[in-house]
């Protein structure tokens, strides 16, 4: 009988000791090692790109010995996680409002975008991803609301990509001369044709690839990735589309600000910009982008056209009064 309690105590002691020994390592966001460590919290699509960029960074003088922790999920989901305490040194998100969320929470300095790049590290465009053969002959925005066409796009509440898609659709209508009211009516029809609401752009791509829907609205880089992974899809860029700009920022509670800033600086070097380009993103460095042949669309517009994200986020995506929120609720049945 003595043995039983001995065994119990030993087991307890072992478990507790293991836990104590390992908890610091698992929770330490900072490392007192000589290289420093960076926690990168990013949106869902650039996982492959950052994997390569990090390796390249670690070969540079500034990056030697720096260890990385990486997290990838829907852009807004990640912003929310950081607000809730997910430790981040560098945030790479899909669109500016998600960084603004962090600014409002005091986790990113308001001056994050005051460099020559305005805080932007990559660009892209909204494209239509289609099945091989394009059986429904989808060519332009109007085709998305033809009878029987099913559209896949993520949930605007959790996915940055979804909001780019919505503004691309809205903007295309405006660019074609429609009024604001007509453009909103188009958005309503577009949502009626939406058959899925995944949490992130990556998940929406997954959904589309399982055979759901006729067209996926996505980032150009996601489409390129899908093709590279030999998925049976191709993409076309509509004539009128929005220029996607993805921001990066160092957080104000970074555990190693010098290393974090060095990494962000590295993202603008030709090496990193080329890696982005190789992964389907459009580099912001004008010299680097010339090495790739990303098509320039005649009716490309930016979010600035509609007052910038600060205005658009409130007008369209406010959880209570936003235009898109109202559309989604109106569609509920």
């Amino acid at each position: 009988m003595r043995r039983i309690s001995g065994r119990y105590s030993a087991a307890v002691a072992a478990a507790v000791a293991t836990a104590i020994a390992l908890i610091p390592q698992a929770t330490a966001a900072t490392s007192s090692r000589a290289g420093g460590s960076i926690s990168l919290v990013a949106y869902s699509t650039p996982k492959e790109a950052y994997g390569q960029i990090i390796s390249a960074f670690q070969k540079t003088k500034a990056g030697q010995g720096v260890s990385f922790q990486q997290s990838y999920a829907g852009s807004t989901e990640q912003a929310q996680a950081v607000v809730n305490g997910l430790h981040a040194d560098v945030v790479a998100l899909s669109l500016e409002p998600d960084i603004t969320t962090l600014v409002k929470a005091g986790l990113v300095k308001p001056s994050w975008s005051k460099d020559r790049w305005h805080g932007i590290v990559t660009r892209s465009v909204v494209v239509f991803v289609l099945r091989n053969g394009n059986p429904k002959h989808i060519r332009d925005w109007e085709d998305l609301v033809k009878p029987g066409v099913q559209v896949v796009t993520p949930n605007p509440l959790t996915s940055g990509g979804a909001r780019w898609n919505v503004m691309a659709a809205y903007g295309a209508m405006i660019r074609k001369g429609k009024t604001h009211k007509q453009a909103v009516a188009y958005l309503k029809k577009l949502f009626q044709h939406t058959v899925s609401q995944d949490k992130s752009a990556r998940e929406a791509l997954q959904t589309f690839l399982t055979g759901r829907g006729d067209v996926l609205l996505s980032y150009e880089n996601e489409a390129i990735l899908a093709q590279r992974k030999n998925q049976p899809v191709y993409y076309l860029i509509p004539k009128a589309t929005i220029r996607i700009e993805n921001p990066v920022a160092v957080t104000s509670n970074a555990s190693d600000p010098a290393a974090a800033r060095a990494f962000v600086a590295f993202l603008h070097t030709p090496t990193a910009q080329t890696i982005y380009g190789d992964n389907g993103y459009r580099p912001v460095d004008p010299k680097v982008i010339r090495q790739f042949n990303y098509p320039v669309r005649p009716w490309l517009f930016t979010i600035q056209r509609f007052g910038g994200w600060a205005k658009v986020q409130k007008q369209f995506f406010d959880p209570k009064t936003g235009i898109v929120t109202k559309i989604e609720e109106g569609l509920g049945h």
Binding site: I4, A19, Q70, G85
Partner: protein, 263 residues
């Protein structure tokens, strides 16, 4: 005749709901041989995911076993105000959606939570780190040891314990020499259930994990993340490993099942 119809219907139900889907996953995993799935589950991220799952269980299971037995004894043998409430609270984790469990922990230990500022000031990370995941797993697997031990304690009655007390044994000695041996199979069964629940936890850790690749991804999260990164092989292979562990659990459950439930 009715007997065969019933047997066929019941077993058929089991087949289409349970057996066929699970068998298909095994089939699809090993369809093209062993090497692809093997490589998928031996990547650094995969191995870390399984190791993290085991580590969490190594903390949660003993904790819930020790305190589970203590709670069971308190509930059955001792008299104290609020006993009924304690009984209900022990069952609470079974009534709560795992997502809600994770959310509640977020409300406590997240940066904006009750203890958030204090934790941040002291540099302690609970949410989006190992302690948070351990807390979530302990929460959801709490009831099992208690629920298995309570009926046995009730059944065996206090005679032997009282006899031991009469003979001069202290409380703890009585526990060690009389109570514990009597409940050991119930405890074993409870431990098996607790372990299974810990290894399989998904919803709660999904909320508090933070998706830190190679750091806060458990085996179950690895399955989901693999599936979403086009790594179907990885998802299936990890699922097969988890399924094999589940089958081992079934064997253990069968061995330790309380006698009233078997023939």
């Amino acid at each position: 005749m009715a007997r065969y119809a019933l047997r066929f219907a019941a077993l058929g139900y089991l087949a289409i709901l349970l057996v066929l889907p699970v068998s298909l996953v095994f089939w699809r995993t090993f369809e093209h041989g062993l090497s692809a799935p093997w490589h998928a589950v031996t990547t650094h991220d995969a191995r870390h995911a399984f190791w993290l799952t085991i580590l969490i269980a190594l903390v949660a299971v003993p904790a819930n076993t020790i305190f589970g037995v203590a709670l069971a004894i308190a509930i059955v043998r001792h008299r104290f105000p609020g006993k009924g409430l304690v009984n209900a609270i022990v069952d609470l984790p079974l009534a709560l959606s795992p997502v809600v469990v994770g959310f509640a922990l977020l409300l406590l230990y997240g940066r904006l939570g009750w203890f958030g500022p204090w934790l941040e000031r002291h540099g302690i990370h609970v949410i989006f780190a190992l302690p948070g995941m351990i807390l979530a797993t302990i929460f959801v697997s709490l009831p099992f040891v208690v629920r298995e031990v309570v009926p046995v304690l009730r059944e065996i009655g206090t005679e032997q314990e009282q006899a031991a007390a009469t003979l001069g044994a202290s409380g703890f000695a009585t526990f060690r020499r009389v109570t514990l041996p009597a409940i050991r199979w119930a405890v074993a069964y409870g431990v098996v259930l607790t372990t299974a629940r810990c290894l399989g936890e998904f919803g709660a850790v999904s909320v508090v994990s933070g998706h830190l690749a190679g750091k806060t991804e458990t085996a179950t999260l690895f399955v989901q993340d693999s599936f979403e990164s086009f790594d179907v092989t990885g998802a299936y292979a990890a699922s097969v490993v988890l399924a094999l562990i589940a089958i081992a659990t079934l064997v253990a459950m069968n061995a330790f099942r309380p006698k009233e439930e078997t023939r």
